[in-house]
Amino acid sequence: MDTTLDQLQPGQRANIIRIAGADGIASRLREMGFVPGELVHFVRPAPLGDPLKCSVHGSRIAVRCGEARRVYVEPIS
């Protein structure tokens, strides 16, 4: 039931529910547009599977799987 960003399929879209953690990287994710309620689009992974290219809040952002695991989402089928 708790899906995270790294579990999405390439090309899949989802709504952001929450971001785990309260450290520097958690706020960096928020500043860069990973905000609850916002739509996130997992575009494709890098050639070796990590990091992941996402599209959120109108910009394209690469995050490693480690960071993507902090982003809880609700997939849009």
Partner: protein, 736 residues
Amino acid sequence: MASVPTVSVAETSGQDRVALVGNPNTGKSTLFNALAGMNVRTGNYPGVTIEKKTGVCELETGKITVVDLPGTYSLAPRSPDELVAVEVLTDHVTQPDGVNLIVCVVNALLLQRNLFLVSQLLELGKPVVVALNMIDVAKSRGMEIDVERLSTQLGVPVVATSAAKRTGIDKLKTVVAEQLKTSPEQHERSRILPPEFYASVDRFRDSLIATDEASDASLPDDYLLERMVLDRGGAPELQVIRTYGDSAAESLAAIREDLTQALGDPIDIECNARYAWAKAKLDSVFKNDSRPSSRVTDRLDAILTHRVMGLICFVIMMFIIFQSIYTFAAWPMDLIDAATSGITDAVCSLMEPGKLRSLITDGIIAGVGGVLIFLPQIALLFLFLALLEDCGYMARAAFLVDRIMTTFGLSGKSFLPMMSSFACAVPGVMASRVIENRRDRFATIMVAPLMSCSARLPVYLLLIAAFIPSTTYFAGWLSLPAIVLMSMYLVGVVAAIPVAWILKKTLLRGEVAPFVLELPEYKIPSAKVVLSRVWAASKAFVIRAGTLIFAASILIWFAGFWPGDHTNQYRMEAQLDSFQGTADARQTLIADLNAESSRLLEDSILGRTGHLIEPIVRPLGWDWKIGVGVLASFPAREVIISTLGTIYSLGGDAEEEGLVGALQASTYDDGTPVYSVPVALSVMVFFALCAQCVSTLLVIRRETNSLFWPCLSFSYMTLLAYFGAWLTYAVSSRLL
């Protein structure tokens, strides 16, 4: 144009100071260039690694100083360095040269997210002007923004600009001048977060005042007080604990706890409040509610970040860069070469043989000219780097290679510093600031100098030109010299892998650091930004040739000239200058002169030192002249060229063919040539791996703030270079 950027970066005290702040990829650098012209002064804020970039802009009302701060997504300082950047904006006591006005550069395409930063700037209580940049791109995508409405909503002037097309710049200047004249120094601070939050900031301030009775330290700025409550483990919190002791830490923890009970975690309070604010402010600002994303970027990314095609494109691009450095630079290099020999001939025809003539021709012209000839190639390398960065590809490269780099203990973000190090390790080491994690950053700093910088390029090019046959393959598309050159670049890269890996297993052990990187939209690179980078790099190279290399050339000349009685040599030179006899007699005279010159060189300090260290360099296949050159090139690698230039010029070997010919012609006493392909390769590998560069070691010292790391760099690289050269010589002399 209403006003012209000034030519001189004059003494700036007393002038109004305007800060340029904005997210990365908003066209901030282009705007800065448009405002300040080419006259940019870069440096560091004292003691930290925040770049201080200032320029002078002329408004109708007079000159102002423009301060360009590094691109940032927010004003939440996470490190002491970032804290300095915020203090510049808050008139903090430790930053006497604070700013009077803030220009926030905003990307029109990402307006809502960019307003996050704007909301923080409005809390500083300084006059703010918003430059709504990239408005032309937004318009072309059918995005219509009501600029006046936005200005009313935000309560600050908003100017639509396109730094790339240079529109709106004059309007921005006028608005800035107006604001500087009419706006009061202190504005009311916006209060964007909930009232409960400000109540807890007040509580915290009171608790500090209570503990503060004894000391007369002034209270932190209100904005920083707010950050202390908001950012767990942030730089302001650490600073206040250092000043006020553990009681501050305790009251901060208690206040955060109460706040979390009432409203939720401070991090969520801030994020929700700011995005809600941004959304409200954008109400009816967009005339059509589209958020158009670039289809061109998506299509390009489909290829350039594709799992197979992306990697192929990456390799091809790197290859084209190295091949074109070779091809396009040939013509300007010939020009410089011709100029150098022209000047030498002119000096010789004007002056009698003697000490001074020897100093000028053998020392200065041979030394400095030999290095300057590589200016075209260095300019080209910087041109490609600037192009790749400005068009948005560098971030893709980081994305592509991140997984590979993490295997070796580095990060995708290490790619830009390492790629920059191919131009020069000094900006490369400084570029490692983009890596937030200390361990990743130090590992990058340690291996960045292994990337073949432009100072090695002259060494490679000289030896390749002299000893590698210019065979071409695939109808001239691929040449053997280019392959050898690329291999030399690979040597450093390959060596960097185990070095980084070992460092991350020993001295820099720890968990994998986080990685979040924005991939900006592709754009046509700005000619101004690219050219100003190439200009700055070329200038630095020429200045280096004019100072460091110049001084080293004179020293080397002296060491090769003294002691020794040169009267015989001068007599023969004078005889040769006015020679009338047959060609055969002329040849004999030249041979005698060469013998005399080389005897004098062997007896000089340089010659004696060379013979002393010869046993150490013998296993590498080198003669004493190369040994001395390497020893003398400790301050900077390219000194080897000027040293060899001086040695062969003093020794009488360099004639019309220049240094390349002199190397090819140089022999041991028994007549066997000194240089063979294995020797040339061994010298090249040595220079690929060695740490012969004082500037790099100094910048490592500054960026790591310790003596340990530069010492480690120097020792491991020198050892690596010696064994690498030995191995290369041993293997290649068996194979070739």
